[in-house]
Symmetry: C2
DNA sequence: CTGTTAGCGCCTTCAA
DNA sequence: TTGAAGGCGCTAACAG
């Protein structure tokens, strides 16, 4: 029952040559209608299946796409991947997923593996400061597309959200509700564009509303609940305590809220808190958390489409790379006043 | 800069033959130390990289493993995949992920694609009632391993948790805390083993404590927050209202709690609620949700190990398939009394 | 120890 | 319209 039927088997049975079988199977026009039908019938009957490995070797195209994310078990990345998959599966691609765990070395290794596997393209939300590994991808002439976390590189398409706008709208939302002493938690490596931009949006919003930027109101942490608690400890040991917190991560926002409540500080009445990413749990809580939606599913679909477009459009000529920027959306919930 | 160096290029440069190069590269003992060193040096210098596609075609082994899950963007499956990946990447495998969306047809299509891609094995948390597609995998002599949601098939290893025990301990926990009118929500297709088993555990616990099984206390839903709310609507329109709910899904448990609270029913004082899966959000809530932990990371790692073992152990002879059953753990939180 | 040959399964010129 | 031949890159069997 093991399926090892090749075009040679079909050819033999039909007393023709493998080349003809190949032609029939691939819709090559230089073949008589009759032979084509015969071949197709035989192929079906013999339960023939094209060996994609042979095809890949021959054509140099594997129909596999590599996707690298920091981690898979978060709603944001899970949804992006889902979007990519939906779009790409329909076109006959499979996706190979790698996790970098926010580690530059691991990411480099993932890239290595994917190149080795001859993927047709790599989509990445990069955790690297250096672009060395990424450059390798380009050197191999493998299309590279950034999503969410991009780096500045030539000839590389990207799909991101406008993190500056996200930071701005979060901060403005706090300001509009009357907050003036707004802290910001940079909940990830400041080297990454996304955090820089969110921070920049924060700064700009303050400036536009004539609020001084205070260095002691800006903290750097990792993205975890624990770190959110610690951040509050630090912020509330200051002489002048903040009346609002804009965290670049929902998890940190949650930790902050928990610590505030533990200290008997009322959210949002005394301190407003807003997060980033719209992870589902933010909506589950009794005190639901205001946040910024990044439309991950849409992002994933867009990444896939950008790739497909630039593949088919290549001959048209020239630079087809594209920088798509999606607009984030403020989701106002109970952890902030309105 | 495009890297197209083959063993022929190396051979040519060194005035030897490709076969010798291959031998040197693969640690074949039949070769002089001197040539080996020369080849290795040249390979490094020329930045040679083995073409895995050619290797795959030649050997019939792709070093890709297909993984099929209902959906990827849930903590449970995300973590399982993470566990699989950790273990398998280290051994040079890549994993290809497919989502079935709980749809039998989609799952069949995924299987088809993976077979076509010549994956070395398929790991699946199956959503199918029929085993037809799964049988195809076996017909192709591709190792198949179930995790979480298994089906009864010969020659197939599986890694699951003891869902019966999970259902039993959840129910017993409610009974121990004084509940007697315990409802059960089967939050998924009853055709799936996992739900049958959890239900059986529920029944057994009732029986062991001399509590009658009431059909009107057992509901079937999908796994969503909305369905949890609806379930409460139905249960609390009964004459004799339950004093506890055991849901086979955390999401449904959450919905149920929200609806109960909306109705002014105190959780856990008037009604206790326990879920299943230990999704992270269950611990984030102010009223944290009691649940059953399934150790997804461990499950993923185990699946990978079972595969690796049965691959290497094959020669040893005979049936190496294995049924691993992990023990779940009760996580008592605030949504139940203790 | 090394070279020659053949083949994994497919596609694609070049001839006929 | 079809056949013959060669090659994608690698490995393994058989000679020498």
């Amino acid at each position: 029952m093991n399926n090892k039927v090749t075009i040679y088997d079909i050819a033999e049975k039909l007393n023709i040559t493998a080349a003809t079988v190949s032609r029939a199977l691939n819709g090559n026009p230089n073949i008589s209608e009759k032979t084509r039908e015969t071949v197709l019938a035989a192929a079906k009957e013999m339960n023939y299946k094209q060996n994609k490995l042979a095809l890949a070797l021959k054509s140099g195209k594997s129909n596999h796409i590599g996707v690298i994310v920091p981690r898979i078990n978060t709603n944001f990345f899970g949804s992006v991947i889902r979007g990519i998959e939906e779009e790409l599966n329909a076109k006959g691609y499979n996706i190979i997923i790698c996790q970098s765990h926010n580690d530059e070395e691991m990411e480099a290794k993932n890239i290595e593996t994917l190149i080795d596997s001859h993927v047709d393209a790599i989509f990445i939300s990069s955790s690297s400061k250096s672009s060395a590994s990424l450059q390798k991808v380009l050197d191999e002439k493998i299309p590279l597309i950034f999503f969410d976390r991009r780096k500045i590189m030539n000839n590389v398409s990207s799909v991101t959200i406008d993190d500056f706008a996200g930071g701005y709208m979060a901060t403005k939302h706090l300001i509009d509700s009357g907050c003036r002493k707004i802290a910001h938690i940079i909940s990830g490596p400041i080297e990454l564009e996304i955090f820089k931009e969110r921070h920049r949006g924060y700064q700009q919003a303050l400036e536009d509303h004539n609020i001084d930027y205070r260095k002691d109101y800006v903290l750097r942490t990792n993205s975890s609940i624990e770190e959110g608690k610690r951040a509050v400890e630090i912020l509330f040991s200051l002489n002048e305590k903040p009346d609002a917190i804009f965290s670049a991560s929902d998890f940190v926002a949650l930790g902050a809220i928990q610590e505030l409540q533990k200290r008997g500080i009322k959210v949002p009445d005394e301190v407003s808190v807003i997060g980033f990413a719209n992870e589902p749990f933010t909506d589950f809580l009794e005190l639901s958390i205001s946040t910024i939606d990044q439309f991950p599913l849409e992002m994933g679909r867009t990444v896939a489409r950008v790739y497909l477009n630039q593949e088919t459009g290549d001959e048209a000529g020239g630079n087809v790379q594209k920088k798509v920027v999606l607009q984030p959306k403020l989701i106002a919930r109970k952890s902030t006043r309105n």
